[in-house]
């Protein structure tokens, strides 16, 4: 029996990585927020790999933190190992990744939420959306509780009509043995949303005591650890190692012999899986020339023996899985604790969303995370914080926060999914960002902390600290431009020692730093008055001076790019009325309904000529006297 159970500004459905960031952002902005989860024990759960960050993803976490989100702090507090990836490459692709203690990660996040003023956390399954006049009005739960709201964020992850596949064993289920959400999909369909079906998978968790690590290659963490959060000063922990091993031809043989028992190949799985996350059977089938594939053994936490076997996701029958795993060196006697499975779930077409993550058809209804066809905890959290901020903006009748492609990976992510749609679960990669040199993980605070402050998610105190750091960086850059190195024998001797060519004329240290062999650190010998600065400041100063020319060039490109991003397209534009627009463009533009000329230019099938025609049409409308 339905009953009126409460009234909130914002309701967030789902307490995974997207949901928690959305709910925290909204509550921290002072809006009464209700966070609904199907199971209180699954708040901020990591149903797949026990790690946060990685290439591209690490950038996202730094950005979430710079905006005032929780993910960075949470992983800093609960990590058991960390590595900065790509340190042999340039600064723009350095990426942080940390192994999490899964349970600790969940517990800390749950407590943060419980202690957050304006935020109420409840175990309730949302089953129906109340929509009136194309506006979200409330949510009904399975027990009949009816909550009214002004805005709502849907962050249901892989729960919607979740279906589990382990060989021919197939049943309705959510991730990690939890219940699926079976009713909300229908409510979405009734509200006019089209749904698509995606698939993802996870490997088995195995008992640490059954593994012979001596047959594997140990992988240690970094020392010192670079934290994710700009607020964390240092992390001192005893790190847990991971291990690397490889599949064998015998393991591949077993897979091939049993391939007809994998639902991926029998046609039972209809959902589209990610190419960057292939199951072991897919790897073996598609890359039959490779006689081995990498397997990483990652601990799931300090207080458990469960080990995550990265690289072995599968939906082969359990008996085949065990046989295959046992052919891997070090896993000859492996004991499974949880089996690998594939999960299929409903998600929306993200092209139905605006850049604010609000639905184009239902006002006040926002979507974030895997429901939008993305994959990954970090991608989810990134959308969550934006959806949370914008749910409040909607209530305030104010302009939404839209980060563009030159500001943040978050902007690249959202722009990609809403203009191009998703044909497979979307994963962030650094190669998706065209202004990669500007979107570094080290300067995420410079790019986004002022924005976080503006939206009330960054405290004045933190903002002051941020400003102080920025001033220190600028001062040091300016100072280095003034420090002159003279062409004396003594200085040239120092240059020679550093493997650098002699100078004939006086040159500033800033200019000298552009030489690839020279760094901020090794040029200290030319710089007697160098101040004592923290590592993050030093690294940023080095990057700014070393790559100044290239950074400037990208800034120029950004200036051009922004001009088209600012040109808005009216929501009710009838593209069929525009003379000179090609039919394909009329169809695509009409379907995707881009909000700006910039977005329109990125839709496939829309040519530069179409954009010209569109611009002229819009401009001519402006000239019409009213």
């Amino acid at each position: 029996m339905a009953y009126q159970a409460g009234d909130y500004d914002v309701i967030v459905i789902g307490a995974g990585h997207a949901g928690v960031e959305a709910a925290l952002a909204s509550a921290r902005r002072g809006f009464s927020t209700l966070l609904l989860t199907i199971n209180l024990d699954s708040v901020a759960m990591m149903p797949c790999n026990p790690s946060i960050g990685g290439t591209g993803k690490g950038h996202l976490v730094r950005e979430i933190d710079a905006l005032g989100g929780e993910m960075g702090k949470n992983i800093d507090a609960t990590m058991i190992q960390a590595r900065m990836l790509n340190t042999a490459k340039g600064p723009a692709v350095h990426s942080l990744r940390a192994q999490a203690d899964k349970k600790a990660y969940q517990q800390r996040m749950k407590k943060i939420i419980e202690d957050q003023p304006n935020l109420t956390l409840k175990q309730q399954e949302a089953v129906e959306l109340i929509i009136e006049d194309d506006k979200i009005k409330g949510v009904v739960t399975k027990t009949g509780a009816t909550y009214s709201c002004k805005a709502c964020v849907i962050a249901t992850g892989t729960y919607l009509k979740g279906r589990i596949f382990i060989g021919d064993v197939q049943y309705d289920g959510g991730p990690n043995g939890l219940f699926p959400a079976t009713e909300l999909s229908n409510s979405l369909i009734e509200s006019g949303f089209e749904l698509q079906r995606f698939k993802t998978g996870t490997p088995a968790r195995v008992d640490k005591n059954s593994i012979d690590f001596s047959k594997m290659i140990i992988q240690e963490g970094d020392d010192p650890i670079v934290p994710f959060s700009f607020e964390t000063e240092e992390i001192n922990i005893d790190q847990e190692p991971c291990y690397l091993t490889y599949t064998t031809p015998k393991a591949h043989e077993i897979i091939m012999e049993n391939i007809d028992r994998s639902p991926l190949y029998t046609g039972d799985v209809v959902g589209i899986g990610p190419r960057y996350c292939p199951s072991i059977e897919t790897k073996v089938m598609r890359f039959s020339d490779k006689d081995r594939h990498q397997i990483f053994m990652e601990p799931e936490g300090l207080n458990t023996n469960e080990i995550y076997v990265q690289g072995m996701s599968s939906c082969l029958p359990e008996d085949v899985q065990i046989a295959v795993y046992r052919e891997v060196p070090g896993m000859e006697n492996v004991e499974f604790m949880r089996s690998a499975y594939a999960i299929e779930y409903d998600c929306i077409y993200p092209t139905d969303l605006k850049a604010s993550l609000e639905s184009k058809q239902v006002k006040g209804l926002f979507f974030a995370g895997q429901i939008n066809g993305t994959s990954g905890y970090e991608e989810a959290a990134a959308q969550g914080i934006i959806a949370g901020i914008n749910a409040c903006q909607y209530i305030l009748h104010e302009k939404p926060l839209i980060l563009d492609r030159s500001q943040a990976y978050i902007g690249v992510l959202i722009d990609d999914i809403i203009t191009k749609g998703t044909e497979e679960p979307y994963r962030m990669m650094t190669s998706r960002a065209e202004y990669r040199l500007l979107l570094r993980q080290d300067n995420a605070d410079k790019r986004l902390t002022p924005i976080g402050h503006e939206y009330g998610l960054i405290s004045d105190e933190r903002y002051e600290r941020f400003l102080k750091k920025q001033r220190a960086i600028e001062d040091e850059v300016e100072r280095l431009k003034k420090v002159k190195v003279k062409p004396t024998e003594e200085e040239n001797e120092k240059l020679k020692e550093l493997g650098s060519a002699a100078i004939k004329n006086g040159i500033s240290l800033a200019e000298l730093l552009r030489r690839p062999e020279l760094t901020y650190e090794n040029t200290a010998v030319f710089d007697e008055e160098r101040p004592e600065l923290s590592a993050d400041i030093v690294s940023e100063v080095g990057v700014i001076l070393k790559y100044e020319g290239y950074i400037k060039k990208q800034m120029e490109q950004v200036k051009k790019f922004r001009k088209l991003e600012k040109k808005r397209i009216p929501e009710d534009l009838n593209y069929g009325d525009i003379k000179g627009l090609r039919l394909e463009a009329v169809e695509k533009l009409g379907r995707f309904r881009p909000e700006t000329i910039g977005q329109a230019s990125r839709i496939s099938g829309v040519s530069p000529a179409d954009i010209s025609v569109l611009q002229i049409y819009l401009e001519s409308k402006k000239h019409v006297p009213r």
């Binding site: 290439t55 490459k89 692709v93 990265q310 998706r432 690839p516 051009k560 003379k579 530069p608």
Partner: protein, 453 residues
Amino acid sequence: MKYSDVDTIAAISTGMGSAGIGIVRLSGERSAQIADKIFKGVSGVPLTRAQNQKLYYGHIIDPQTGQTVDEVLVAYMRGPNSYTAEDVVEINCHGGIVPTGKILDLVINGGARHAQPGEFTKRAFLNGRIDLTQAESVMDVIGAKSEKALQLSVEQLNGSLKKRLKKIDDVLIDVLVLIESNLDYPEYDIEELTKEKVLAHIDEALELIENLIENGKNSAVFRNGIKTVILGKPNVGKSSLLNLLTDNERAIVTEIPGTTRDIIEESIIIDSVPFILTDTAGIRQTENVVEQIGVERSLEYASHADLILFLKESGQKLSEDERQIIDGLDPDKTIFVSNKSDLSLEELENWHKISVKNESGIKELKKQMVDLVMQGQVEASQSSVLLNERQMSLLRQTRDILKHAREGVLIDLPEEIYSIEINEALENLRAITGESIGTDVIDTIFERFCIGK
């Protein structure tokens, strides 16, 4: 490619003929600045400080070689008192495709970009220089031009050029895949990224580009289009027809030294389709030999042509020679033209009727020529590489960007920095074919490497 309205754009705006004057026009806030990089005025006044709308005499100097390219008259028109209402520079040069094309190259290298079809007009409109009624026709022009350009590029890129561009594209994609897979998947067993491999790829691409440029220099620029030959017996009106066809069209006359005689080629563009009309001058020279039109020689010309205009005099019976020639012609590639002298009014079926004397039927003939190309019945010969001046310029730009990227690799710049330039080179290359850059680097990574958890 991404196009922006804040770019300074450049194009050859008129006068492709060798006799006429060529104008390279720039529009945008950096017009004068860019032109100053190559213009040395006799008065010594840089354009940025030049008097508005005044013509300055001087020379265009290639800043890299220091060589004089052409003597020119240059005018600087500050916005909003210009066609586009932006700052505009017009460089009036001696015309002919060589200097005009070279000057366009120089301003592109100086920081301008190639204008899109109709872009000057578009800017004029966006800046309020043209009124509303003109706006729609502008859109039509842009729409039509781009459609046609698309069709044309498909037609033109059917042969060896497409294959050769594709090969360069593949090499660049390969190297980008190598770089990006290593940057995004640092822990996986994938092909190792080394400086040597990157250099080998860049060098391969550079060599392919250089070959194409070299090839273009030797033959293509001057013979850019549908090779068209006008056949017919002497005094039938071939020269007059040629003149009528090139009248009011942009024509480039190129004299190609032959061994025994000179052939005159005229390049014209009818409705965006380039034609190269070959005037069979050699035949004219033998006009003193009565009725001697040279069956063999005519057929030889025809065999090298993409399109044949066979001209006869209406009302006259076909001579034996004429019959022999017609029998040897591919009817799909031939337009039979009957020149109506004012003496006879006889009508012939399947013959296109014109009168060189009254200048009638020419428009229809041109339309038929264009239609045959658009329908795909007639296409440019596969052996010749067709590169127009825009394409050549894009190719040279691609080369220069790649060379710069190569220097970056040599001095050990980080991969994500020189890859920006490789991407830029790829975008330039794809502007030749009109393909927009997609996600195929990412697609190829997943096709090629087994990565992911």
